[in-house]
């Protein structure tokens, strides 16, 4: 490292690392980059909602029930133009959607992350330990996957009741199995490789072998599953909230906003349900487009 000239050596093309190759392959698909772009915009809008939203939809001082059910583009009593209309309480829908995105994204990404940690750890353990541990964990996975997610989540929320934390818990319980199965599959292949044998010969602690040697090599499929599962988690949270079992009314996610507009839709006031649904749809589709392409990029079998 003391040799500074080495760094400045005239090596014009950048060294190709797996990460750089991955980035350039991902960028090769216009659809995937579009998905990434749209998703980034959505995340930024959600993050900046308190500063860029026309009003704070939770602040009762800012909303006026006289502005209720205004059509998109109408100007309310407080002088704000409601580009996406207002709901029955007089809340600006655009602001409601921006704040709702925060909750939908937090719940979706948070539950996917926790489920990933739990599932990946159990999957690694199952593959590495084998035997009885493997059997027990995989039986649990089978059991979990044999029930539709919506039903399992419904059952858990029927026990726990409403609330953001409870929704996250329910989503983690119904999702961890997907990660566990994925990681176990690739870990079973990787653990027979020489580098694991070498690590074992060096008498490294099991935890180190699992997380520093085995896990990084099982990451590609995990990233694919993780991306798709974030989209699924967001959709599932919206569905549960629509059914009245998800987030509480005080913290409306997109699903709850859509549910609020349900009764007004039959009288032709479509915007209360329509626009939150569009936001939800765009979010899910942008994530799925990225995930779909990631699957192609990270799948070695499709490489020529």
């Amino acid at each position: 490292m003391s040799d500074v000239t080495l760094d400045k050596a005239p090596v014009a093309p950048k060294e190709e690392t797996p990460f750089r190759r991955f980035v350039s392959e991902f960028m090769a698909s216009k659809i995937a980059v579009g998905g990434l772009l749209v998703f980034s915009i959505i995340v930024v809008v959600a993050l900046l909602a308190p500063w860029i939203a026309p009003q704070n939809p939770y602040d009762l001082g800012q909303i006026d029930i006289m502005d209720g059910r205004l059509e998109p583009g109408e100007v309310g009593g407080s002088g704000i133009t409601h580009w996406l209309g207002t709901d029955d309480q007089g809340r600006d829908m655009l602001s409601g959607i921006m704040y709702g995105l925060r909750i939908s994204l937090t719940v979706g990404a948070g539950s996917a992350l926790i489920a990933c940690l739990v599932g990946a750890s159990l999957g690694l353990l199952a593959a590495y330990a084998g035997g009885r541990t493997d059997t027990v964990i995989m039986r649990l996975v089978d059991l979990q996957l044999s029930f539709p997610t919506i039903l399992a989540a419904l059952m858990i929320l029927a026990f726990l009741g409403k609330g953001i934390m409870n929704v996250v818990i329910a989503l983690v319980i119904v999702e961890w199995a997907y990660y566990a199965r994925t990681v176990r599959g690739s870990a079973l292949v990787e653990r027979r490789r020489e580098y694991i044998e070498a690590a074992q010969c060096l008498a490294l602690p099991t935890r180190r072998i699992l997380f520093r040697h085995l896990l990084p090599n099982c990451l590609p499929p995990l990233i694919v599953v993780g991306t798709i599962q974030v989209a699924r988690a967001i959709a599932l949270e919206a569905t549960l909230s629509f059914l009245g079992l998800g987030v509480p009314i005080t913290e409306p996610s997109l699903g709850l906003l859509i549910a609020n507009g349900y009764e007004y839709m039959l009288s032709g006031k479509y915007w209360i349900s329509f626009y939150p649904g569009v936001a939800l749809l765009v979010t899910i589709v942008s994530i799925n487009l990225m995930g779909d392409h990631l699957r192609d990029v990270l799948n070695p079998r499709l490489k020529k």
Partner: protein, 320 residues
């Protein structure tokens, strides 16, 4: 084979028992039905009489034993709200849900098969690309929102189809009357959306794999017309796996009908369970979950047995 079957049967039984404990304890923990069902004006005496009548004064494990004993005799408790046997309540709603689920599966095959066949036969055509993009959309769209949009367009704006309810029924079935059928159409399409995407993808990959088979090449070499090769040799061979998978999806279709039924106010089991959860009608929740769990265990058992019949390797593993 018999050993394997017995072992699977025993495992299923264990799962059923475990689920019954989980469901019972879980539902018991949801809040206090006494608060909801007994009027706050009731005096002490009335309260206690009501609690005793509902069996809520016994310890939890005793309530569970009573529940199991009654469940084995087909009695899953009485609904707190309707004061009718919970099982009967659910069975009354079952035809509506089954009708919806089978309608959705029928639609998914009717629409999905031709589209998947086209996408598989001409994978590079613009039509196939549109179909495949559409199937991604079908997987992405949240069912409940699509349901709302279907109501908005076809019921509110165009006024072609009714938005909610089952309409006229004949012998308890909607699809036997024209009015009932018009009520069934929108919810069935809504529920079918996800399955259509599934059928398209299955059919497409099936066709693409089958086209490379030797018997297809041979049929072509023999000079058969492309139509005959497609519709007799290829189609027949992909039909079986596609129909099998769709059949196996029956369980999840029934589970997802919870959402569709809530959107279209379709009076089936799914709407009943959501309403029951909202008013904490404990016996109905427990009965519904037990019926669904039982249904899934039976479906999974049939799948496993079918696999072991078809694939000897599974059988050998079971004996080892």
């Amino acid at each position: 084979m018999t050993v394997y079957l017995l072992r699977r049967l025993f495992q299923s039984l264990l799962v059923l028992v475990a689920m019954s404990v989980i469901v019972f304890v879980g539902v018991y923990a949801v809040g206090d039905p006494v608060e909801i069902l007994i009027s706050p004006d009731a005096d002490q005496f009335e309260r206690e009489r009501a609690i005793r009548a509902l069996g809520l004064d016994l310890p939890l494990w005793q309530q569970y034993l009573v529940f199991v004993k009654n469940a084995l005799q087909g009695d899953l408790g009485r609904s707190f709200v309707f004061s009718e046997p919970a099982l009967q309540l659910i069975l009354q709603k079952m035809p509506a849900t089954l009708e919806l689920a089978f309608g959705a599966m029928f639609i998914s095959i009717l629409i999905g098969l031709p589209l998947g066949l086209y996408a598989g036969l001409k994978p590079d055509s613009p039509g196939a690309k549109v179909i495949m993009a559409g199937s991604i959309l079908g997987f992405s769209l949240p069912t409940f929102w699509v349901g709302l949009m279907l109501i908005m367009v076809f019921a509110v704006q165009l006024g072609w189809l009714p938005s909610t309810g089952r309409g006229e029924t004949l012998w308890g079935w909607s699809f036997l009357t024209a009015n009932g059928l018009s009520h069934l159409l929108l919810p069935a399409i809504n529920l079918a959306l996800f399955k259509i995407s599934l059928v398209i993808r299955l059919t497409r990959s099936g066709v693409r794999e089958t086209m490379l088979m030797d018997y297809v090449k041979f049929a072509r070499a023999k000079g058969l017309s492309p139509a005959r090769v497609t519709y007799v040799h290829v189609f027949k061979n992909i039909l079986i796996p596609v129909v099998t998978v769709v059949g196996l999806e029956l369980g999840s279709t029934i589970a997802f009908s919870v959402v569709t039924e809530s959107v279209f106010a379709w009076p089936g089991m799914g709407k009943l369970i959501i309403d029951s959860i909202n008013v904490l009608d404990r016996p109905v929740i427990v009965a519904y979950l037990m019926i669904i769990v039982l249904m899934f265990i039976v479906i999974n058992l049939i799948v496993d047995i079918l696999y072991s019949v078809l694939d000897p390797r599974v059988r050998l593993e079971g004996q080892a």
